[in-house]
C-alpha cells in the first residue's frame, strides 16, 4: 500500500492511495494520512488505485476526516472502484465525506 502526496492549487492536498487497504495496507499509510490531516484543511483522497477497502481501511479514512473537520477543513474522496464505493456507502461515509468521480467537481467543492 502506497500513499503519494501532491499539493494542488488552492491549498488542496491530494493523497493518492494505491493498493489494498486491509490491515497491513492501512497501517502502512496511517501515519502519512494523519500528518496530512493535521496540516491541511482541504484534502482530496484519490482512491482509484485502491483495490480493496475493508473495515481497517474505513478507519484510515474516517479518523483523518474527523481531524480535518475539527480543524475547520474539508475532505473528499475521488474515483473509488465500484466495490470500494459500495463499502463506503454501506458504512454511510458518502453522506459525510463526499465521493466524486470528476476531479474538477471535487476541487471546486474543496476550494469553495
Amino acid at each position: 500500500m502506497k500513499a503519494t502526496i501532491d499539493e494542488l492549487e488552492g491549498n488542496v492536498t491530494k493523497v493518492v492511495l494505491d493498493g489494498r487497504m486491509d490491515i497491513d495496507g492501512s497501517a502502512a499509510v496511517d501515519l502519512r494520512m494523519n500528518v496530512v490531516a493535521g496540516s491541511s484543511t482541504r484534502v482530496l483522497v484519490d482512491l482509484a488505485g485502491v483495490t480493496f477497502l475493508g473495515s481497517m481501511g474505513l478507519r484510515s479514512i474516517v479518523l483523518p476526516a474527523q481531524a480535518v473537520r475539527r480543524r475547520g477543513g474539508k475532505m473528499a474522496l475521488l474515483n473509488p472502484i465500484p466495490l470500494v464505493e459500495e463499502v463506503l456507502k454501506g458504512a454511510n461515509i458518502p453522506a459525510l465525506v463526499p465521493i466524486y468521480h470528476d476531479l474538477d467537481a471535487a476541487l471546486a467543492e474543496l476550494r469553495a
Binding site: I23, D24, Q66, R69, L83, N92
Partner: protein
C-alpha cells in the same frame, strides 16, 4: 474430500492466534479457495471484507486484545454456488449477533457520530448472503454465507 474436488489439497480450516497480523493468512487462504472454486472477484471481495471485520471484532472486542487466544475459521461448500465460513472463538457471547437482540448500530448523522470500526455489523449483513450467530459454551460461532450470483 474427493480428489476431484477442486480444493482437495487446500485446508478447509485455519486456526489463528488472536492477533490482527494473523489476518494476512486469511486473505491468502481466501485467495487460494476462491481461485480453486472459480469464485468471482465480487464475491471474493465480500468474503474478505466480512472475514476481516468479523475476525477483527473477535480479536479486539471479544478477546479484548488478549493475544494468547485462538480463533478457528472453517470453510464449507454448501452447494454449486453457495459457500460459507464459520468463525469460532471462546470469547464472551457477542450480543449484537444474538438473534433475540435488535441491531444496535444507528445511522450516523454527522462525521463525529461515526465510530471508527462501528459499522462492521451493518457491512457484514450487507455483503454476506447470510449471517448467523450461535452461542458456544464457551464462545461464539458466527457463520457467514455467500451465494455467487448467476452469470449474465
Amino acid at each position: 474430500m474427493p480428489e476431484d474436488d477442486p480444493a482437495h489439497a487446500i485446508p478447509m480450516q485455519l486456526t489463528l492466534r488472536s492477533q490482527l497480523d494473523e489476518l494476512a493468512r486469511v486473505s491468502q487462504w481466501v485467495e487460494t479457495l476462491t481461485h480453486a472454486y472459480a469464485i468471482p472477484n465480487d464475491t471474493r471481495y465480500s468474503m474478505e471484507l466480512c472475514l476481516e471485520e468479523a475476525l477483527a471484532n473477535v480479536i479486539r472486542h471479544g478477546y479484548r486484545g488478549d493475544a494468547d487466544q485462538t480463533v478457528v475459521v472453517k470453510f464449507e461448500r454448501r452447494g454449486e454456488r453457495e459457500f460459507a465460513f464459520s468463525i469460532e472463538d471462546s470469547a464472551p457471547h457477542f450480543r449484537p449477533f444474538d438473534p433475540d437482540e435488535p441491531p444496535q448500530e444507528a445511522e450516523a448523522v454527522n462525521l463525529e457520530d461515526i465510530v471508527p470500526g462501528g459499522h462492521g455489523i451493518r457491512l457484514m449483513r450487507k455483503f454476506a448472503s447470510s449471517v448467523e450467530w450461535a452461542p458456544l459454551e464457551p464462545g461464539n460461532r458466527l457463520s457467514l454465507g455467500f451465494v455467487v450470483p448467476n452469470a449474465g
